[in-house]
Symmetry: C2
Subunit: 588 residues, 2 copies
């Protein structure tokens, strides 16, 4: 794999080098940056449309402002590829051997040009407000610039940041990158206002930004470097908060990403060779879920699928959304609202099913507790992408068990296979007693073909899958197969027939079963695909605390891992049959 050859970009080692360029050279640079983005995404996947759309804005920012003296905070920072190429990290895009050396997000340990590590949405304005206030306390003078996309405006943290930053009495520049898209379509009344502002070239009296008291400028051609430089020069060193509303084209320069902006938001590798951006899905938890919902809505018009701005990751494509019609709500990037909304829906007799990422359900703890759990609203939450992964530190799915399972009233289920998942989902949707969350397996897809006939209304009933003695393995959800492997390894190494337990419930423990194990077991092993701290296994250790039962808890340590290979993590956490048996050797 050859390094991408460039004429202008190859001489850019810091923003200082951008300042030496002519507009003509900057236009060439924009083309080369786009080639860099395409080159990287084609090889390792990543965010495509956001960076392609904001290339000229990024060049103009670095031409006019002086990073890192002036400070940029990018929202989500999935659009930071051009910024990285201009701040000494171009090899992460041009050289295939270095693609994985550079993260796809702001990362303060990578460069002084990234003031934070950022990966979640709607945070930039609030973070930048803190930077600006600290600057003012020190009596320093420089520009603090928060960049935020139109899609990110729908998150409550962004609103809180707008409300508070608007009363700063000092330099504060918010750049709203309006590409007319969230990940999917934008949702909510605010976006009619953005449309009105675009259509009136920013002159409409009806202006959400101005209602906070912000100064305001509109730039219609947000992909024209000369215009942008002119605008930024006007606001540089401004002495009060201003919003610069810039209209850009998401995906610019790569037609498939312009034509299908939702597809082009984030893509798998292979974009340059593929003829069509679509492919057919094998059966998996996503397809099961879609089929279940389509069927459920047909039979019960109270069933409603809810989503917070990420339909694509569940393969909830436009065909699916159109088929559901009024039985589908995308609330935008607004998990707090999503959680309260499903509580209201359920309280009034509807049957909401909210699909959400483990990493993003973190945005709604208080609503899970106060709006949903305290009201015992029988809504269903499907938690996808949970568990140990080689993901970025900003997108780990490790924390949902401590987050959800320590809130009273919520039933958190961990299916181990297709049949359990479908049974749990159906039970959850039809019952009227509890808020229920289901931790959709992510590690592997298993189908046994054996129907699950469990009555899940009997809470916290663990299932003994294989009865043995001396050692019991409680293997939750995704790690049930690992539990079986451990059982076999124990048999092989120690000649012991261990008991294999599928707990299914991870928000409570089966005291009766745990008590019964005492009679002919000496050791209980727990396996969970998430952080140990505050999780499921510790509850079992605590339960047995007053007894002679030994308990070994396995799961992830309390740490943010950043793109660490999966196998390395499993070894570090001793989540392998050989390592677990090694631990057993000492105490068996």
């Amino acid at each position: 794999m050859d390094t991408l050859q460039t004429m202008v970009l190859e001489n850019i080692n810091s923003p200082e080098d951008v300042k030496k360029l002519s507009v003509e050279e900057m236009n060439i640079l924009a083309d080369e940056i786009r080639q860099g983005i395409l080159n990287r995404v084609d090889k390792i996947g990543g965010h495509l449309g956001p960076g392609l759309g904001i290339t000229e804005v990024t060049i103009a920012l670095h031409y006019v402002f002086n990073s890192p003296y002036d400070k940029f905070v990018f929202d989500v920072s999935h659009q930071c590829y051009p910024h990285k190429m201009l701040t000494g990290r171009k090899e992460g895009f041009t050289n295939p051997l270095e693609h994985s050396e550079i993260s796809g997000y702001f990362n303060y340990s990578e460069s002084e040009h990234d003031p934070f590590m950022i990966g979640h949405t709607s945070t930039s304005v609030s973070l930048a407000t803190g930077l600006a206030k600290a600057r003012d306390l020190k009596g320093e003078k420089y520009n603090v610039i928060a960049l935020i996309g139109d899609g990110s405006l729908s998150g409550g943290e962004a609103f809180e940041g707008f409300n508070n930053s608007s009363v700063l009495n000092s330099n504060f520049i918010i750049i709203v990158n309006d590409n007319e898209m969230s990940i999917a379509e934008n949702q909510g009344g605010l976006y009619k206002n953005l449309k009105e502002l675009r259509e009136t070239n920013g002159t409409s009296q009806n202006n959400w930004f101005k209602t906070f008291g912000f100064d305001y400028m509109y730039v219609e051609n947000g992909n024209d470097i000369q215009t942008l430089i002119g605008t930024f020069n006007k606001v540089k060193d401004i002495d009060h908060p201003i919003v610069i509303h810039i209209h850009t084209l998401k995906g610019k320069g790569f037609e498939p990403a312009v034509q299908n902006k939702e597809w082009g938001h984030w893509t798998m590798p292979g974009i340059l060779s593929e003829k069509s951006p679509s492919f057919s899905m094998p059966e998996c938890y996503e397809t099961l879920t879609k089929d279940y919902i389509l069927n459920a809505v047909k039979n019960d018009p109270q069933v409603i699928a809810v989503n917070a701005a990420t339909p694509g990751v569940f393969w909830w494509n436009s065909e699916f959304r159109n088929a559901l019609n009024k039985n589908y709500t995308d609330v935008g990037i607004a998990e707090q609202h999503a959680c309260a909304y499903i509580s209201g829906l359920a309280k009034n007799g509807a049957k909401p099913i909210w699909a959400v990422h483990s990493s993003f359900i973190q945005r709604t703890y208080d609503q899970l507790s106060q709006d949903l759990a305290l009201n015992n609203s029988p809504a269903t939450i499907l938690v996808f992408w949970s568990g140990i992964t080689s993901a970025d530190a900003t997108h780990l799915g490790l924390f949902d068990i401590p987050l959800i399972s320590n809130i009273p009233n919520i039933v958190y289920l961990a299916p181990t296979r297709k049949e359990e998942y479908l049974k749990m989902l159906d039970w959850s949707v039809k019952q009227n007693e509890h808020p229920v969350a289901i931790r959709v397996p992510y590690f592997e897809y298993v189908s046994t073909g054996v129907e699950d006939t469990t009555d899940y209304s009997i809470l916290n009933k663990f299932k003994v899958e294989e009865q043995g003695s001396k050692i019991a393995i409680v293997a939750a959800g995704d790690f049930f197969s690992l539990g079986r492997e451990v059982k076999e390894e124990i048999k092989s190494q120690f000649g012991i027939d261990a008991t294999l337990i599928n707990p299914r419930f991870i928000s409570g423990i089966d005291k009766e079963l745990l008590e019964s194990l005492k009679s002919n077991h000496k050791i209980v092993i727990t396996l969970e695909n998430g952080i140990l701290s505050g999780g499921f296994g510790e509850k079992i250790a605590s339960y047995y605390g007053n007894s002679s039962m030994k308990v070994l808890n396995y799961g992830a340590y309390k740490e943010f891992t950043d793109r660490v290979p999966m196998d390395e993590l499993l070894t570090r956490y001793r989540l392998k049959k050989e390592l677990i048996c090694e631990d057993l050797t000492g105490i068996i």
Copy 2:
């Protein structure tokens, strides 16, 4: 204590009875409702100004709409006293013997007129959006009315609700009760817009509500029943979303609460007999904190106190706020912003100290994780009012240990006495390595007079306060005194000199110390003033899982308790020296 005598109110047993009244009678009713509020708050304390301000609105709502067929959702619901008096619960206000039978918040188990249990801020619009959508799915027709105060508008969940409810194509009525106050002053640019709307009688083109596409009406005299009835009749059964912006007088009818709205928001009992609403505070954690901050700001202009709309509960009165001046920020009811803001402040060299309730830090989990912890920003968070209490289910302080201590990088400290608290606070403010949270004791105030010389930069170092053998008691924070009592009871009952350990760190364990205990201890008892599930003690149980050490974890069970007397809870959770010794009897 006599029951309050009323003429009109005594005949109101349901909203149906309100509909029979003349405007003149309703005005008498308003006076009697105010007497009911004063009567109750004088005896048992509670929210005073909010209910006094919204009395006429509540009467007019019940006159025009048909609860519970039409559905009211009140934000925070601290202003629900008049609503409760009109919906069959007047004795909770008029009869001193029944004051404590009726909660001060919406409570669905109390009445069908309260669709939810509500106590946290900024939730009403989102919850009501769910009710309205479920109504539409069922093809039913009635009014869904969300009531929200101006102060609550600053919370992100409210914004998310406004954005999404504005595109409902059906009946949805938001009543904005604008009394020009949050708990303290409103904060942020949005409030300049509300002022502009009030000053233009709602006619300004610059209108935050209209930017979402809401229909809009303004009512200047929000304490005039006849006007309100006219307005509500106009919007009843409306077929689209509308905001009715109503200007009311917080505290109306009780001059001390009008003159000092911040004092009158929530008061202790005794309001009718007191000459002055102020009294002097004995030394306590609140006064220590204030003194520390005032002194710190004098010595270091980078120190900044941060608060999210509840300065009064920390006794951060206007004198304190004025003294701090630019070194103080109240962000309004916006904990997400507060958390990101302190991260930005700390990242840029400032020394933020954010004081927050345990119950309200729940509103900012993702920001604790992503904005603060992932960035290792050295900010200080003081968590007040944590632990087991007889509080309402909506305001428990039980969950902050699972919430905070399972997030990587955050150091969570639990001081047991004045001297430790001050040392920890000073260390936290001056260090540059970690985000630090301090769990301010709430159960009792202890000062030993012995200076704490600990170096807290050595993390997770537990302190052996009294060396013994056989049994070790790890007594965290507030429950250190209980630990000492248990130690004495063990000595008395079993003749054993137990080891008494003050862990100080509750976000990690001292493995070296725990390991050393194995040599001459058989039992470890943990005590924590919070929920056990996902908490501190379980981590110790897990640590000892592979050994023969027995571990008994004590703390609160995973449940929402609602105004349960403290002693009953301590007994239920066996958090008493006799009960703990009873448990020991079986295993010693």
